[in-house]
Symmetry: C2
Subunit: 345 residues, 2 copies
C-alpha cells in the first residue's frame, strides 16, 4: 500500500491494473473520455491510483506539455503590508484557477530581479506577475524571448500591460486630507510646514505622488519649498536620516508630513522614537499605503489603502485575455481615516 521510498508512477499503476501506461495516463489526467477508454477501466485505474497514493510527477508533465502550471510573481519585499496583501490576493486568484503560485522577493535589486526571473523561466512558469520592479521592461525582454505572458503591477512598464494605482488621484486626496488635519491639529497658522519623505525620485509612483503633493500645496498654500521634499530611497534607514534632517531644518517636528509608503514610515518612526512624546501634539501624518497598526499612532495618521484585490483580479483578467498591449490600467485607492480598521486582509 504505502510506498516507503519512491513516488508511485503511472508505470506502477499500469502493472497493478494490467492496463498500459497510456491508458493509465488518460484515466488519471481526465482525458479518458476523449480517448475512448471504457468507463469501468478508468474508474478501476483511478481507484488503484488512489489506493497507492499516486500523484502525478508535475515535472514530467510540465516537460511534455511545455508548461508547468506554475505562475510566478516577484515582489520587492515580503515584510510590508502592501506587498504581503498582494501576495495573499495573488495566491487566492492562482488557487482559484488550479495553478501553483510561486512568489519570490527580489529586494529592489535589478540584478536579483533578472536572476530570479531567469530561474522562474527555467522552471517553465506559465505567466509572470511583476510587482514594483525597478526595471519592468528588462523583464519584458526576458519574457518575450520565451513567449511568457507578463503583467506589471504597482509600477508600470512600456512593454507589457500594467495595473497600477491611480497614484496622482490618491496622493491628491491624501494631501488634501492631511492639510485639513494640519489645520485642525497644527500650530494654527496658514503656514504650518508640511514635508514629504520617502520613495525614489525616478520611480513612477513617487513621481506621481510628488506631483500631486506639489499641486495641492500650490492650490491651497501657494506652493512648497523644494527642500521640504525628500525622495531618495525606499530604504527605511534613508528615511530615518531624512526625518532627522527635516527636524533639524525645522527646529522640531513639522505640522504635516506626507510619508510615501510604510517602508519610509518605518524609518521615520525609528527617528521619532527618540523624541519625547510631547513633541507629537501637533503633527499629522499622511501615509501612502495602509498598515493596520500604523493607522493607530498617538498622532493622527491618515492612510491610503491601495485596492489590492481589485488590482490582482484585473491583472489576472488581462493575463487571461492574452496580456497583449502594454496598456496601463489605473485603480483608485481608498482613504483611511486615523484609528480606523477596515475589514481584514
Amino acid at each position: 500500500m504505502e510506498n516507503i521510498s519512491k513516488k508511485t508512477t503511472i508505470y506502477d499503476i499500469s502493472k497493478l491494473t494490467g492496463a498500459s501506461p497510456s491508458t493509465v495516463s488518460a484515466a488519471l489526467s481526465g482525458t479518458w473520455r476523449s480517448r475512448r477508454i471504457k468507463e469501468a477501466t478508468a474508474l478501476k485505474i483511478q481507484q488503484v491510483a488512489r489506493e497507492n497514493g499516486y500523484t502525478p510527477n508535475l515535472q514530467a508533465r510540465g516537460l511534455r506539455k511545455a508548461r508547468s502550471g506554475l505562475v510566478g510573481m516577484i515582489v520587492p519585499a515580503h515584510t510590508n503590508r502592501y506587498f504581503s496583501t498582494l501576495s495573499n490576493a495573488f495566491e487566492a486568484e492562482a488557487r482559484a484557477r488550479g495553478l501553483c503560485p510561486v512568489i519570490v522577493s527580489t529586494l529592489r535589486d535589478p540584478e536579483e530581479e533578472r536572476r530570479t526571473v531567469e530561474t522562474l523561466i527555467s522552471y517553465a512558469i506559465d505567466s509572470l506577475f511583476v510587482v514594483g520592479a525597478t526595471n519592468p521592461d528588462a523583464i519584458s525582454d526576458l519574457c518575450a524571448s520565451v513567449n511568457i505572458k507578463q503583467v506589471n503591477l504597482d509600477l508600470p512598464g512600456t512593454k507589457a500591460p500594467s495595473v497600477i494605482t491611480d497614484d496622482y488621484w490618491g496622493a491628491r486626496i491624501l494631501t488634501q486630507e492631511l492639510l485639513r488635519s494640519v489645520k485642525k491639529h497644527g500650530g494654527g497658522g496658514e503656514d504650518d510646514p508640511v514635508y514629504f519623505i520617502g520613495g525614489f525620485q525616478s520611480d513612477y509612483a513617487t513621481d506621481q505622488r510628488i506631483k500631486a503633493f506639489k499641486d495641492v500645496m500650490k492650490e491651497e498654500r501657494g506652493g512648497v519649498p523644494d527642500n521640504h521634499i525628500f525622495a531618495n530611497s525606499y530604504d527605511p534607514n534613508a528615511s530615518t536620516l531624512d526625518a532627522e534632517t527635516m527636524c533639524k531644518l525645522e527646529g522640531g517636528l513639522p505640522s504635516g508630513l506626507f510619508v510615501n509608503s510604510t517602508f519610509a514610515f518605518e524609518g521615520v518612526l525609528r527617528y521619532f522614537s527618540k523624541l519625547p512624546r510631547e513633541d507629537f501634539s501637533k503633527i499629522s501624518v499622511g501615509c501612502y499605503d495602509y498598515d493596520p497598526f500604523a493607522s493607530f499612532m498617538h498622532f493622527p495618521v491618515i492612510m491610503v489603502r491601495q485596492n489590492v484585490q481589485e488590482m490582482m483580479k484585473e491583472a489576472f483578467i488581462i493575463m487571461e485575455n492574452g496580456a497583449l498591449e502594454p496598456k496601463v490600467t489605473e485603480i483608485k485607492p481608498t482613504l483611511i481615516q486615523p484609528r480606523t480598521m477596515p475589514e481584514a486582509r
Copy 2:
C-alpha cells in the same frame, strides 16, 4: 541571436557548435572536466550558449535527476510581520545555497496544508520547511512516503525535527514586564486586572504562553481568574469579539493585556478603535510577536520579537544534517520595549 519563440535547448547549441548534445550538456553543467571534454570545446560551447541566451530547462533536469532544486516552505499567512520576516530569512538562506525558494500560505487550514504539500511534492521539492502548521505530523507522513526531508518551525511536531521559540521563557519575561508597566501606569492597586487574548487553546505555543502567564500571575498576584483568558482563535475577528467581551466584563479597559500574536492585536485594535482616546490612559499591553508599528501606540506596548534569523539558520543546519531525529530546538526571543525600533528586517 534572439530566439523569438522558444527556449534554446542543448540540441540547438549542439547544432550550432557541431558537438553532440551530451557534450553540450557536460560543457554547460560544469561536469566537462571529469568527462574529459577539451577545454577549448567546452569554452566554445559556453560561448555559443551565452550568445543564444541559453538557460537549462530545470524541469527536464529535475526529472532526470529526481530532484528539482526547489525548497518549499508553507506558512499560515503572508500578511503578518512575523511570518513575512520568516519568509525573508528563508529566501536568504535558500539563495545562499543556490536553491529556489517556494513559499505558499495555507491559511491555517489542515486541508489546504495537505493539498499544498502534495502539490509541492509533485514538483519534486528537495526539502520542506513547515511553519506554524496545524498538523505537522500529517505532513510528516506525506513527506516520509516520498523521502522528503522536513523541518518544522514555530510549532513543533513529533515526527520531524522542530525549531521553535522558547515560548514559556518569552511569555514569562513578557508577563513580568507587563506587570511592571501596569504597576507604573495602571490604576495603582495591586489588583489591577490583567487579561490574556489570542491564540488557539490546543496550539502548543499558546499553551506554553498561557502557562507562563498563569505562573507569573500566580507568583506576583496570587493567580488569575480563568475568565480573564481568551484563547479561541488566531483570527483577528475573534479577538475583536473577545476584546469587547473583556471590556463588558471589566466595565472598561483593563490595566494590563497580554495579546498573543499580532493577529490577535489587530483584532483587539479593531475594537479599541471605537473607544475614545482618554480610555487608554492606564492600559499597558504586552504582545507576543513584534511589529514595528504596533510598538508605537499611544499606550505602552511591550513586544516579544522571535529570533527569526537564528531559527531559520538553525533549521537549515538541521536540514543539511539529514533532518533525522524529531528533536525540538528552542531559541530564545527578545523583549522589545515600547516605542523601540530595532534594526530592520
